[in-house]
């Protein structure tokens, strides 16, 4: 049997096309760009050899440091938010709403479908401070509080960005995790209940471990998305006020395509790729150890 499942030709047919497309369209350009990290300049001014200058610039660039801090802050807050709220929602679907959850699942999922530009427009209007008072500030004022100039400072702008990205993707993670939860056999839960497990204990000792693989996939998936956040911030704040909400991707995009320094832009992107790699491997390792210990 091993001979059939080890058939070289079959492996080539099954794996070859995907590997070829992926290598040609993602890996090769990635390496190509990596080569640019040794140069400065752009396609217009021409490239000149820079050696390791870009890397030393990266280490001392205050803008890059600020962008790194913002990226990490965003990635941690939004990943935790997305996955945690998504998980709570999926528990709600499976254990409370059960078969009736279809409509709610659809509604909560729906914002994922909306174009980023539209969602950003929506949140700009909802959190508006001036010249008109948006619904959120109206609500705050109705509750006797002062309205907040949400987009006026980096701190409050961050809150809106986080709320927006959690709002629009929690339904997605809920569905993803839901698919993992419904796979848990009813008998396992039944026998645990008969053993006297209930409530928090049931979730902690049965549901959580059994849904751990899909939870870890979700976290890896989420963190790689949030580390590379671009569209939503570009559309919502444009990185402002000032440069208070500029992630690494936006800095890289500006450096490469607006400031005409493709080499340094590629260096920033390379740093970001390394960061994603380290974080993913870290989560993987932590997870592996968990599984082997259990």
């Amino acid at each position: 049997m091993n001979r059939v499942l080890g058939d070289k030709r079959a492996i080539l047919v099954l794996l070859g096309p995907a590997l070829l497309v992926y290598s040609l369209v993602m890996l090769a350009p990635m390496l190509w760009s990596l080569g640019y990290t040794m140069f400065s300049g752009s396609v217009i001014t021409g490239f000149s050899w820079a050696g390791t200058k870009n890397f030393s610039t990266l280490l001392h660039d205050p803008a890059a440091r600020a962008a790194l801090v913002f990226t990490l802050k965003y990635a941690v807050v939004v990943t935790v938010g997305q996955v945690a709220v998504g998980y709570l929602l999926s528990l709600l679907y499976v254990f409370f709403l059960r078969r009736a959850s279809g409509l709610i699942r659809t509604l909560v999922f729906f914002p994922v479908v909306l174009p980023t530009v539209a969602v950003a427009l929506l949140f700009q209007k909802f959190f508006e401070f001036a010249p008109q008072t948006g619904p959120v500030n109206s609500l705050l004022e109705a509750l006797g509080m002062h309205g907040v100039d949400w987009f006026g400072s980096a701190g409050t702008a961050f809150v809106v960005i986080a709320v927006m990205d959690i709002w629009r993707s929690m339904g997605f993670y809920a569905v993803l995790l839901y698919a993992g939860l419904v796979d848990i056999p009813e008998e396992v839960l039944e026998s645990a209940r008969i053993d006297g497990a209930s409530g928090t204990r049931l979730v902690r000792s049965i549901v959580l471990p059994l849904s751990l693989p899909v939870l870890v996939s979700s976290i890896i998936f989420s963190i790689n998305g949030t580390l590379k956040v671009f569209d939503s911030i570009y559309a919502l704040t444009g990185g402002g006020p000032g440069s208070g909400s500029t992630p690494l991707t936006l800095l890289m995009y500006r450096t490469s395509f607006f400031y005409g320094d493709y080499g340094y832009g590629a260096t920033i992107a390379f740093g970001l790729t390394l960061l994603s790699l380290v974080v993913t491997l870290f989560i993987f390792r932590a997870n592996r150890r968990d599984v082997t210990e259990a």
């Binding site: 890996l27 090769a28 987009f151 000032g242 607006f258 005409g260």
Partner: protein
């Protein structure tokens, strides 16, 4: 273990890379001829790359193609495509990198990029092109001088706009509050204080993201009035730094307005449209704006205060300053550049350019009320505000450029994005200037 792992991956990647290179190598032989439209031959279309944010140029070119330039259009039909303004510079860089710029395109947002393209040989020198075609007389000398001022002595764009800038005011609000049109900075600030006390928002100005240029215009003009019209050239030439005390003083003057709340609540969340609307619905007394907005001022749907209720004043003088009020901030706004390669070889494109230069000014003014840097034929009737703009342009002897005109793209972005923070009083003049200077230096 690790080394084997690495080697395997490298081999796979190496193969992939070689394939990509081979693919691109195979085709590169055949591309050059068709991409450039063939040397000496004419391209199938006259391609124009416009921006979504400016409809006037595309509309005027379309009108020309149906009437005045009908013959040229038959030889080489006009084909317009548009980009969002925010992505124009990226697209131009990508296209120029492939030698694939369209014959006509909107000049880059950052003047420095257009200069780089010219150095690289992608952008046609307009003066020599017009001499060749014998139509040099159809471009106003004032426009050419503004362009040369901008591009470090080179004439790189067709002046499809010629704008002056200054402070526009709501006549009724001023008279209701007993305010004379200010001519000095201290009078202006006094007027702001009076308006604020009366519960009127003194200035409407956008400060959201890149729209912060509305605020940094105040800084630039203050510098010109205080230190003279060449003060920003001195920064470009390394004779002065933005962090020098007199420059910081200018930024502080604007930051002070911000701290007093004269820019209204939350300037960082006000975009261009909103700022204009605030002024045009009578909710603010002053707005700094270029004459391109005259089409909005004369639009009955947008303007709720009436076109004859809007006045124009020069940026006021600063006490003891070297600059004078008649030194006019002027620019060519959204201008059109010509691809050097196509112009050199394509006679149909040359005919088009010649026709545009001869007729654009008249059509743009007649149909869109747009004042351009081209000569205008007789018999075009214009609105009083357009007339005012024309008169001001005619009177201008010395023009000055905006704050970021000589900056790199990076410093421009920083300056404009920080403009909103200056107007909201969150950033001091010194901090603003040191941030911009830091990006200028690199």
């Amino acid at each position: 273990m690790i080394s084997m792992h690495k080697r395997h991956r490298l081999v796979a990647v190496g193969v992939a890379g070689a394939l990509t290179l081979a693919l691109s190598a195979c085709s590169s032989g055949s591309t050059s001829s068709s991409a450039s439209g063939g040397s000496g031959k004419t391209a199938a279309n006259l391609n124009f790359l416009g921006i979504n944010e400016n409809k006037t140029i595309a509309a005027t070119l379309t009108t020309l193609s149906k009437n005045e330039c009908k013959a040229e259009n038959a030889a080489q039909p006009l084909k317009i495509s548009n980009q969002a303004q925010g992505t124009l510079d990226q697209q131009l860089q990508l296209l120029a990198g492939q030698g694939a710029l369209p014959q006509l395109f909107i000049a880059a947002n950052a003047p420095s990029l257009t200069q780089q393209l010219a150095t690289q040989g992608s952008v046609q020198d307009v003066s020599s092109a017009l001499d060749k075609l014998g139509v040099s007389g159809d471009v106003l000398p004032a426009a050419t001088s503004v362009i040369k001022n901008l591009y470090n002595g080179k004439d790189l764009v067709l002046p499809t706009e010629l704008n002056i800038e200054g402070i526009w005011y709501n006549k009724k609000i001023l008279s209701d509050n007993g305010i004379q049109v200010p001519t000095t900075w201290s009078e202006l600030v006094a007027a702001f204080a009076k308006l604020k006390a009366a519960g009127v928002q003194p200035i409407s100005q956008a400060g959201k993201g890149g729209d912060g240029w509305g605020v940094t215009r105040w800084v630039g003009d203050y510098i010109a009035r205080d230190l003279g019209p060449t003060a920003l050239q001195d920064v470009r030439d390394g004779k002065a730094k933005l962090t020098d005390a007199p420059y910081v003083a200018a930024a502080n003057a604007i930051a002070d307005l911000g701290k007093q709340g004269y820019f209204g609540p939350s300037p960082t969340s006000i975009d261009y449209t909103t700022a204009l609307n605030t002024f045009l619905t009578g909710k603010a007394a002053f707005i700094y704006m270029g004459s391109w907005a005259v089409s909005d001022f004369t639009s009955a749907t947008e303007n709720k205060i009436g076109a004859d209720n809007i006045g124009f004043m020069h940026f006021p003088t600063v006490d003891g300053g070297k600059g004078t009020a008649d030194q006019m901030p002027a620019n060519v706004g959204t201008a059109v550049a010509i691809s050097a390669k196509d112009f050199a070889s394509d006679t149909a494109t040359q005919a088009w350019v010649s026709c545009i230069v001869k007729n654009y000014g008249t059509v743009a003014l007649r149909d869109s009320g747009q004042v351009t840097g081209f000569t205008v034929g007789s018999g075009v009737t214009v609105s009083p505000l357009s007339k005012l703009v024309q008169d001001e342009i005619a009177k201008t002897t010395t023009s000055i450029l905006w704050f970021e005109a000589y900056f790199s793209a990076k410093a421009t972005t920083t300056s404009q994005n920080d403009g909103g923070l200056l107007a909201s009083g969150q950033l001091s003049g010194a901090d603003f200037m040191s941030q911009v200077q830091a990006d200028l230096g690199s």
